[in-house]
Symmetry: C2
Subunit: 195 residues, 2 copies
């Protein structure tokens, strides 16, 4: 069982790399088997379909994001600090797992994820709920401007951070920490009430 | 000729709708011909390949964005006002041409656009150049904080605005104007130097 588990993990890793480099649609089960050095029928010992691999990739990425934001939202800190921490955590997760997040954000749409689209939407809703919740409490507690709309500002934050997969390179000139500092200052000074 | 031109426009419109609803990869030339009420071979009178349609969609969307930002960047107004105008203009273009922009942003990647990827990159670079230029002059002229990095803040803006295709619906509760107002205030107060 242990050996099967680690072979399955290897399969996910290899498939993620192929989906990132070649695109989900143009990667075949044959390509994955070849990279693993096994015959195509043997793949089905670990996974039932290509769509199943994609679902696993979404689960891995979204569950990391969700468990991180749940922990932050539970913490006994101000909404300002919560917002700073989710920006840090979200950027770090993307930059440290660039292949997983690129596939998850770029290849997941209602065509490729037809069989589990409702599941994807539910996971996204869960994350968005916490983002909005933090923005709303910051407003209620008098930290953030009263005129902010937590839905529209929440989308701004998600768009800004998720867009990272389109341009970030580990070889680039800016570290995840530097990127995060720029955006934390942008959002915090952009949202804070003038005292 | 005139008739051919308008049939070609119709083809682009029909294909855009199909790519939006079904995805680029899963839409066939046969699907497009059927929607136009013509035989598949007749399609090639107007266009040489499916990839050609995608290229035309990118050209339409990017050229609209670029001509808008060039006009704004040329105008005799402050960088602050320029930034406000590009947020307004970019959001309006996306919301009013949601099918075109969804296909352009979602379906364009180096796999689907293999034959003209350098062209896509050049168009994106052109737009990004102006965004960064406006941010840099705002900093130089003392409007924006000195510690902002125009590249990282430029990506924040692009991510925020382009992400709109993922959630915006014309039937939704917020108008493009309301969305734009939220984001203009976020970016402007987030970037302005304290006087």
């Amino acid at each position: 069982m242990r050996k099967d588990g680690s072979r399955r993990e290897e399969l996910i890793k290899i498939a993620t790399k192929l989906f990132m480099e070649k695109g989900y649609r143009t990667t075949s089960m044959q390509d994955i088997a070849k990279q693993m050095g096994i015959q195509k029928p043997s793949l089905y010992h670990y996974i039932s379909s290509k769509e199943d691999i994609l679902k696993e990739i979404v689960d891995i990425t979204m569950n990391r994001l969700i468990s991180s934001i749940e922990e932050i939202d539970r913490a006994d800190i101000s909404p300002v600090e919560k917002l700073e921490r989710i920006i840090d955590s979200h950027i770090t997760l993307i930059c440290e797992n660039l292949e997983l997040f690129t596939v998850s954000l770029r290849e997941i749409n209602r065509f490729n994820a037809k069989g589990f689209w409702a599941h994807v939407v539910a996971l996204r809703d869960k994350y968005e709920y916490h983002v909005r919740n933090i923005l709303a409490s910051g407003k209620k507690l008098g930290y953030f401007r009263e005129d902010i709309d937590e839905k529209i500002i929440g989308f701004a934050l998600l768009g800004c951070v998720n867009w990272t997969i389109r341009w970030y390179s580990p070889k680039g000139e800016k570290s995840p920490k530097e990127i995060s500092n720029q955006w934390k200052k942008l959002f915090l000074t952009g949202l804070l009430k003038n005292k």
